[in-house]
C-alpha cells in the first residue's frame, strides 16, 4: 500500500470517527433533553379510597380495565392534551404506545363496548386541578413541581415522586 493511500485511509477513518463522535454527542444531548424535568405524580380526587398502586395497577386503570374504585365510585380518567410532557410520560411508561396507537386503542375499546368514553382531555394544569377537585373518582398526572393542595398524590410501587425508584419520569 502506497504512503498516499495510507494517508487517504487515515483521513477517511478520522472523518468517520468524527461523524460517530458527533452522533453520540448529539444523541446524548437529545436524550438528556427528553428525559429532563421532574417526576410525574399520579394524583386523584381527595375522596378516592386509594393511596398506593403498583405500576401495573395504574396501567390497568389507564387502560380502562379497572373502571371502578369501588362499586359506588367510577374511575374518571383525565389526560393532558398532546405535546404536554405529562402525556408523553403516560404514553411512554404506562401505555407503552405511540400517539397513534393510543388513539386507536380507545377507538377500539369503545367499539368493543368495553368503555363508554375515552379519557377526558385537559389543556392546562388549572383545568386539571379544577376537574380533579370537582369530579369524584378522577385521576390525573401532573408535574411533581406543580402539585397543589386539595388532591391526593398516590405512591406508585411504594414510591412518591422524587424518590429514587419512582417509575414515572
Amino acid at each position: 500500500m502506497s504512503p498516499n493511500m495510507n494517508a487517504t485511509y487515515k483521513r477517511v477513518l478520522k472523518f468517520l470517527w468524527r461523524i460517530l463522535w458527533a452522533t453520540v454527542v448529539l444523541h446524548s444531548a437529545s436524550t438528556a433533553q427528553t428525559s429532563r424535568g421532574a417526576d410525574v405524580a399520579v394524583v386523584v380526587n381527595s375522596d378516592t379510597p386509594v393511596a398506593d398502586l403498583s405500576l401495573s395497577e395504574v396501567r390497568k386503570v389507564m387502560l380502562g380495565e379497572r373502571q371502578y374504585w369501588n362499586s359506588k365510585l367510577p374511575v374518571v380518567l383525565l389526560i393532558r392534551a398532546p405535546a404536554a410532557r405529562e402525556r408523553d410520560v403516560v404514553l411512554r411508561v404506562i401505555y407503552q404506545m405511540s400517539e397513534a396507537q393510543f388513539k386507536q386503542y380507545w377507538v377500539a375499546k369503545i367499539f368493543r363496548a368495553e368503555a363508554a368514553s375515552p379519557p377526558r382531555i385537559v389543556y392546562s394544569n388549572d383545568m386539571q386541578y379544577e376537574l380533579l377537585t370537582a369530579l369524584p373518582g378522577s385521576i390525573a398526572f401532573v408535574d411533581s413541581r406543580n402539585i397543589r393542595a386539595g388532591v391526593k398524590v398516590l405512591r406508585v410501587d411504594g414510591h412518591l415522586p422524587g424518590e429514587k425508584d419512582y417509575p414515572l419520569r
Binding site: E65, Q67, Y68, S71, Q101, Q104, I110, S117
Partner: protein
C-alpha cells in the same frame, strides 16, 4: 463554451442551495420541531398560570382578612345532576364562572350519545375460474355508544351492506349493560359471541384489524362458529393478582333455523345455548392475552329428513395473542363437534389461523407487513355444515395514511376443496373510521 463553464461552476452551488432549501422545507414540516415548539409554549403557559396564581394570592392577601377565606370549591355535583344549567353569576365573578363552565362542560352528561363510523372500499382480482375482478364497497358501519348513567350504557352497531339490488341494513349489535362493579357487569341484547379472540376484538371495523378480511373461521355470514348471539351476558374481572383473569358467561337463543343467524326474532327450539370464555392478561407480560372458550347448543333445522334434523353442538376454542405491534401475534383454534341426536353420529370440524405482523420503525411507523396462515377442515361425514375446507396463505402490507385511515395490499394463495386447483389473488383495500 464560456456559458457552459459558468453553468458548471454554478452547478455545485445550485445543488448545495437545493439541499439546504429541501432541508429547510423539511425542518418546517418536521413534526418533532413543531412538537418541541408546542411543548415550549405549553411550558410558558404553565409558567404564566403559576405567575397569575401567585399574583392572585398576593392580591387576596392585600385585600384584607375578609378576602383570605379560600374560594369555595364547587361541591361535586352528582353525575345525574350534571345537566343542570349553570346559574348566571355576577359580572365581577366572570373568571370563576368561566372555569366552572369549563368544568361543567367536561362533566358527564346523560344520555351522552357518541357515533363513530367505519367504512372500506375494496378491489380484488384472482385467477380462480369464473371469478370477476373489480371494486366493491365494503360494509358501512355505524357504532353508537351512549352512557345512560354512570353505571348503565347502551352500545349499538348497524351495518349497511351492498347487494346486487340495493342495500341491506343489519343490526349487528344492540346491547344494554348494567355495571355493578369491575367484577360483575350484566348485559342483554345481540352480541358478537365471545368465542376466541377475533370475533370480539375487531367486530365489523376493517380499519381496526391489520388484514383486509377476517379469518374464514369467524367470517361475517359464515357458519363455522356462531358469530352472533342473542341473550344475556355476564362479564368482569376475576380477583387473581398478576394472572389478570377475566370472564364472559352468557345464555341465549343459539343458532337459528338459518345456522349463520342467531334467532333474533325468537329461538326455534326450547333449548338455550350457553357460552363461557375465560382469558388472562398477565400483568407482568403487558400485551399478552390467552384464553379458552366453550359453547353449547342444540340446533334444530327446519327441514325434517330421515337422518334427523336435531344436533347437539359443542364448540371448544383457545387463543393466544400478543397485541403489541413489534411484533403482533394472533393465533386461534376452534373445534366444532356435532352430534346427530337421532343417529348419534358424531363429527368434528377444526379451524385455526396464525397471524404475525410487525410495525416497522421507519416512515413514522406507518408501515406494517403481515402474514397469515389459516386452515379449515370439515370431514366428509359432516351433516350440518357444507364443506368449508380451506388452506390459505396471506402476505400483505398495511400503510397508515393518517391516524384514522389506511391502505392495505395483499397477495393470497388459497385452495378450497381437495380437487380444486390452488388459486392466487391480489386484494386491495382502503379503510377508515370517521
Amino acid at each position: 463554451m464560456v456559458e457552459e463553464g459558468a453553468v458548471r461552476r454554478r452547478l455545485p452551488v445550485l445543488v448545495v442551495l437545493m439541499i439546504f432549501a429541501a432541508g429547510a422545507a423539511r425542518a418546517q414540516t418536521a413534526p418533532p420541531d413543531q412538537t418541541e415548539q408546542i411543548r415550549i409554549l405549553l411550558e410558558r403557559v404553565q409558567q404564566l398560570e403559576k405567575r397569575v396564581a401567585e399574583l392572585e394570592t398576593k392580591t387576596s392577601a392585600a385585600a384584607g382578612p375578609a378576602a383570605e377565606a379560600p374560594a369555595p370549591v364547587p361541591a361535586a355535583p352528582k353525575p345525574e345532576m350534571a345537566e343542570a344549567a349553570p346559574s348566571p353569576g355576577p359580572v365581577h365573578q366572570h373568571e370563576p364562572t368561566e372555569s366552572q363552565t369549563t368544568t361543567r362542560q367536561l362533566e358527564a352528561r346523560y344520555p351522552s350519545l357518541q357515533i363513530r363510523g367505519f367504512g372500506d372500499v375494496n378491489f380484488s382480482t384472482t385467477d380462480q375460474r369464473g371469478a370477476i375482478s373489480g371494486f366493491n364497497l365494503g360494509q358501512l358501519d355505524l357504532h353508537l355508544a351512549s352512557a345512560l348513567s354512570h353505571k348503565v350504557t347502551y352500545f349499538g352497531e348497524l351495518t349497511f351492506n351492498a347487494q346486487p339490488t340495493g342495500y341491506t341494513v343489519e343490526v349487528e349489535r344492540s346491547i344494554i349493560r348494567y355495571d355493578y362493579n369491575d367484577f360483575f357487569k350484566i348485559s342483554f341484547g345481540r352480541y358478537h359471541t365471545p368465542i376466541g379472540y377475533w370475533n370480539t376484538a375487531f367486530h365489523h371495523g376493517a380499519w381496526l384489524q391489520t388484514t383486509i378480511s377476517r379469518p374464514d373461521m369467524v367470517r361475517i355470514g359464515g357458519t363455522f362458529i356462531p358469530v352472533h348471539f342473542v341473550g344475556l351476558l355476564a362479564e368482569g374481572n376475576i380477583p387473581s393478582g398478576g394472572a389478570g383473569l377475566s370472564y364472559n358467561a352468557g345464555v341465549g337463543n343459539g343458532r337459528g333455523s338459518i345456522i349463520s343467524r342467531p334467532g333474533d326474532a325468537g329461538d326455534n327450539n326450547n333449548n338455550r345455548a350457553w357460552v363461557a370464555n375465560l382469558y388472562s392478561r398477565p400483568t407482568k407480560l403487558y400485551g399478552l392475552q390467552m384464553g379458552v372458550s366453550v359453547y353449547r347448543d342444540k340446533i334444530t333445522l327446519p327441514v325434517v329428513n330421515p337422518a334427523g334434523n336435531e344436533f347437539r353442538e359443542w364448540i371448544s376454542a383457545a387463543h393466544i395473542v400478543w397485541t403489541k405491534e413489534t411484533p403482533e401475534f394472533l393465533a386461534e383454534f376452534a373445534n366444532v363437534n356435532h352430534k346427530n341426536i337421532l343417529t348419534n353420529a358424531i363429527t368434528n370440524n377444526q379451524a385455526y389461523y396464525v397471524q404475525v405482523g410487525y410495525r416497522l420503525p421507519w416512515l413514522e411507523k406507518t408501515l406494517k407487513p403481515y402474514y397469515r396462515f389459516e386452515h379449515t377442515h370439515t370431514p366428509l361425514s359432516e351433516q350440518l355444515f357444507t364443506n368449508q375446507d380451506l388452506v390459505q396463505s396471506i402476505v400483505g402490507m398495511r400503510y397508515d395514511i393518517t391516524n384514522y385511515a389506511s391502505f392495505k395490499g395483499e397477495y393470497r394463495n388459497f385452495k378450497r376443496l381437495p380437487t380444486d386447483p390452488r388459486a392466487n389473488g391480489a386484494f386491495f383495500q382502503t379503510d377508515f373510521t370517521f
